[in-house]
Amino acid sequence: MTDRDLLAQQSALLGQAFLSSDPRRLSPPEDAAEGPFAAFRDEILLAQGVPEAAELEYTRLFISPAGAPCSPWQSAYAPEPRLMGPAHHSALEWYRRYGAEPAVENEPADHAGLLLLFFAQLAANEADDQELRAFAASHLIWMTELVSRMKTEARHPLYLSLARATEHLLASLA
């Protein structure tokens, strides 16, 4: 597997994890031998046995009406937090340049999961490193704040390990 393939595979997995409240929808990587992604794989397998606890935590962290502590949308991390802000429009521009749009129209395009999935597809298909770096700088680096909040807030090991794996990916892009 090339570095690009690995990057794509890892980003895609993280993207799916941010988008799916049910861990049974995740396909854990088979070849992660050690490090944060191996830990993440183990937690996925464990969570798939008791998915209810993970679902409860997903709701609490990301969408709870009692004040989600880790909003998954980039616009919520702007100096003036707001959904559908400039990051939404910028993400939409990126997707469209590559002939794509989010399948769900009435939700913001700058969801961490969508951004990671798009990045994965870009990593797998786009030859130009500049493009990858530009997208990461605009739409992935903000996730350091999301990850830091998750590390403080998460009560379920699946989401602690998701935070660590995402942190690892972000570090590899720096």
């Binding site: 988008l19 409860l56 609490r60 004040g67 794509a100 989010p102």
Partner: protein, 740 residues
């Protein structure tokens, strides 16, 4: 950057091909952002000003008013302009949720999990059915406005007896009074053509009600005199020619004395009063009754010099046309004597001869819309038998209009009928809206199953078992008929400027879906198919002649039917005399006073609580629903105890210092703000703040609840005090204040 456009859907290379990219993305041919504008209507407050929304890729960028709109006249207020911040509030409720932690309270994590609409609706229907069958129809509480026709039909179809709304903290008293004194709607005021405007506490300019603010501005430009009585100096006072710093709760004394002056000096509009009112029939009773209320008597109660009352009464009666508006929260619901005050104000308008006359209070020239029941008549509804939890059945005048009663609900749930309510549905109402929210919080804890539908996680939401995410006005459709300034008919289209965000739905959807589950026959058309909200709009537009269907009307945006204003000669008052009623004989038959009598407000200053308590709704906020809006929160994030510098000096309080404000029912600790705008014997705190923590990122834990100092009441209290119109006494309290 030299970018070659590529299509990720045409590539399968690499490991990413393993994952389902196309599960979350779809192909797009769009090259660049699209910018467009759409016309719709606001719904933050009831004039529903017309809006032009500028959208980038369907995302609202900017909202502004539209010229030609009778209400906004091309303008939006601060709240209307900030409308997009409601849509895109990160705190917005996004999906239906259910509670997994049975312990309820602000300090408990409810353990929300996301559920489907199907599961949410099935659960609600099943629980409601259980309570109806096992505890009766009166075991369900609906805290909601009548709302959309389908929602109303659903409540009727399940025989809901206990539908409670906030109108008693708003305009209930005036609604009752107008039904019997003029037969008209209560807030259509022709300020533009008025020459004398008399305001008792009325404060709509300071509340940024554009439709009224513009009217006052035009009236002043036309040379009208504007006189305001109030204990606070506000933007409305600033727009007035003359301002009198009246003692709180004593406006009634001055109004009664003015009626006395006008009648005893025969200054009233003789033609109007003799031809169109019941004055000739009851002249002796009326003259005798008001003779006791002299300006000298009123001076002792109100601090308004007798000479001023004499002069203003004469000016009001002889400068024509003249008007004295009453409106909603201000003055209609403040005190235990508010019903008498709005009756007295109505009499002043009748004596001025300006009911449905240019420059006066008039009947809106509207466009009648057919309701769903007229279009698709429902089968017979079950009888509404059972106990009314708030005791409103003991106030026949309030019962007739089927509005209220927030003020007696907690007493009803905790004392009158404890345990009666098993299940509750709260639609866009939060605890802050109730007088004395602490009681309501206790009352909510006695309910076994609570559903809360809202757009943000309010305090009510945190007590719910099921949370339903609500759409906002910018996501919905409707036909808005002008009724605030409508000397000729106008209808404006509301259309979604954006698709409903996330999985939000409207109350019409909930009514229809619960109806299908619990009363299917009520939600079928004659051909057996289900009712449909879009078809309802099509039929309403067609029957009202607004277009072939709703889409045609929507594309027009607005329909005007200019027509000359022909003053009415009959007045549809209850009782069928076709005349305005000064003395209301039907009131006497219903245990109320046929002519307004002097009653003091409920709570009077004492040694322990020496200061009058005042509340207000700031111009930049709408009641208790806008404090989490990013823009509005930035402008006014919290409240304070506003006191006069003279009082501050006497008590040793400095600007910003924390103070404790106590009443006979509660206390709050809040910073002081010194201002000459309030009388030295008053303490004023803005309404709408003090949302409980954790729920709302921007508004949570900021400020204090004004209601924590205001006693709520029982229906017996109201009857004993002559409050037959059910004024909820939202600032009838006295307080102490001390520095901390």
């Amino acid at each position: 950057m030299n970018i070659t456009r590529r299509n990720l859907f045409q590539m399968t290379g690499g490991a990413a091909g393993l994952i389902s990219f196309d599960q979350f993305f779809r192909p797009s041919a769009a090259q660049a952002a699209t910018i467009r504008t759409l016309q719709t209507a606001c719904a933050i407050c009831s004039p529903n000003c017309a809006i032009e929304a500028t959208l980038k890729d369907g995302v609202v960028q900017f909202l502004k008013g539209i010229d030609g709109d009778l209400h906004g006249e091309g303008h939006l207020c601060g709240k209307g302009t900030a409308g997009a911040e409601f849509l895109y509030d990160p705190d917005r409720l996004k999906y239906p949720m259910k509670r997994t932690n049975p312990r309820k309270g602000f300090d408990e994590d409810p353990g929300w999990v996301r559920i489907s609409w199907q599961e949410a609706l099935d659960t609600i229907a099943e629980r409601f059915k259980f309570y109806i069958e096992n505890h009766g129809r009166d075991s369900l509480l609906f805290c909601t406005l009548a709302g959309h026709d389908f929602w109303q039909r659903f409540m009727n179809a399940v025989g809901a007896i206990n539908r409670i709304d906030h109108i008693d903290v708003c305009f209930l008293t005036d609604n009752i009074i107008q039904r019997y004194t003029t037969g008209g709607k209560q807030w259509t005021n022709d300020f533009d053509n008025s020459k004398y405007i008399l305001l008792f506490g009325w404060d709509q300019v300071a509340k940024n009600k554009i439709v009224y603010a513009n009217g006052i501005v035009k009236a002043r430009a036309n040379g009208a005199k504007v006189v305001r009585f109030a204990p606070t100096y506000t933007a409305t006072s600033k727009m007035s020619t003359e301002f009198h710093n009246i003692r709180p709760g004593s406006d009634l004394a001055v109004a009664l004395a003015m009626i006395n002056v006008i009648i005893s000096e025969n200054l009233y509009d003789r033609d109007f009063v003799e031809q169109y009112t019941n004055f000739p029939q009851y002249e002796t009773e009326i003259r005798t009754h008001f003779a006791q209320y002299t300006p000298e008597w009123a001076e002792g109660l109100s601090d308004v010099p007798a000479a001023v009352t004499w002069r203003i009464a004469r000016e009001f009666a002889t400068t024509r046309p003249a008007i004295a508006p009453a409106h909603k929260k201000t003055l209609c619901a403040n005190y235990m004597n508010s019903t008498q005050l709005v009756h007295a104000i109505s009499i002043l308008n009748i004596l001025a001869g300006t009911i449905d006359r240019p420059g006066g209070r008039y009947f809106a020239r509207g466009i009648p819309l057919a309701g769903a029941d007229a279009i698709w008549p429902p089968p017979p509804n079950p009888q509404k038998v059972g106990r009314r939890v708030d005791g409103r059945n003991l106030l026949p005048l309030a019962e007739e209009v089927d509005q209220g009663m927030f003020s007696t609900l907690a007493d009803g749930m905790l004392r009158r009928h404890p345990g009666l309510i098993k299940a509750a549905f709260f639609n866009n109402y939060t605890l802050l809206g109730f007088p004395f929210p602490l009681h309501m919080e206790d009352a909510m804890r006695t309910v076994e199953f609570t559903v809360a539908m809202d757009f943000i996680p309010t305090d009510t939401t945190s007590m719910a078992d099921i949370v339903l995410p609500s759409t906002l006005y910018l996501e919905g459709s409707g036909i808005v008929v002008r009724n605030y300034r409508a000397t000729s008919p106008q209808a404006v289209a509301r259309q979604p400027v954006t698709a409903p965000m996330f999985e939000t739905r409207s109350i019409a959807y909930v009514g229809l879906e619960l109806g299908k589950r619990l009363a299917p026959d009520h939600f079928k058309k004659p051909d057996g198919s289900w009712l449909n909200a879009n078809e309802l709009l099509d039929e309403q537009a067609r029957r009202a002649g607004l277009g072939e269907n709703f889409a045609e009307f929507r594309d027009k945006g607005r329909v005007d039917r200019p027509a000359p204003f022909v003053p009415r000669t009959t007045f549809p008052t209850v009782g069928g005399t076709n005349k305005c009623q000064i003395l209301v004989p039907q009131f006497a038959q219903k245990g109320a006073e046929p002519l307004p009598k002097w009653h003091p407000k409920r709570d009077q200053p004492s040694a322990e609580y020496p200061y009058y308590y005042l509340t207000f709704i700031p111009g930049i906020h709408k009641r208790n629903t806008t404090q989490n809006n990013a823009f509005l929160n930035e402008i006014m994030p919290t409240n304070a105890a506003i006191i006069n510098p003279a009082l501050a000096q006497k008590l040793g309080i400095s600007e910003g210092q924390m103070v404790r404000v106590r009443s006979r029912v509660g206390q709050v600790e809040v910073p002081a703000h010194l201002s000459q705008t309030v009388r030295p014997d008053c303490v004023q705190i803005a309404h709408g703040f003090g949302h409980r923590s954790r729920l709302l990122t921007k508004a949570g834990l900021k400020g204090v609840r004004d209601g924590d100092l205001v006693p709520d009441a029982s229906v017996e209290d109201f009857i004993a005090a002559g409050n037959y119109g059910g004024s909820s006494c939202i600032m009838d309290a006295v307080v102490n204040i001390e520095p901390l």
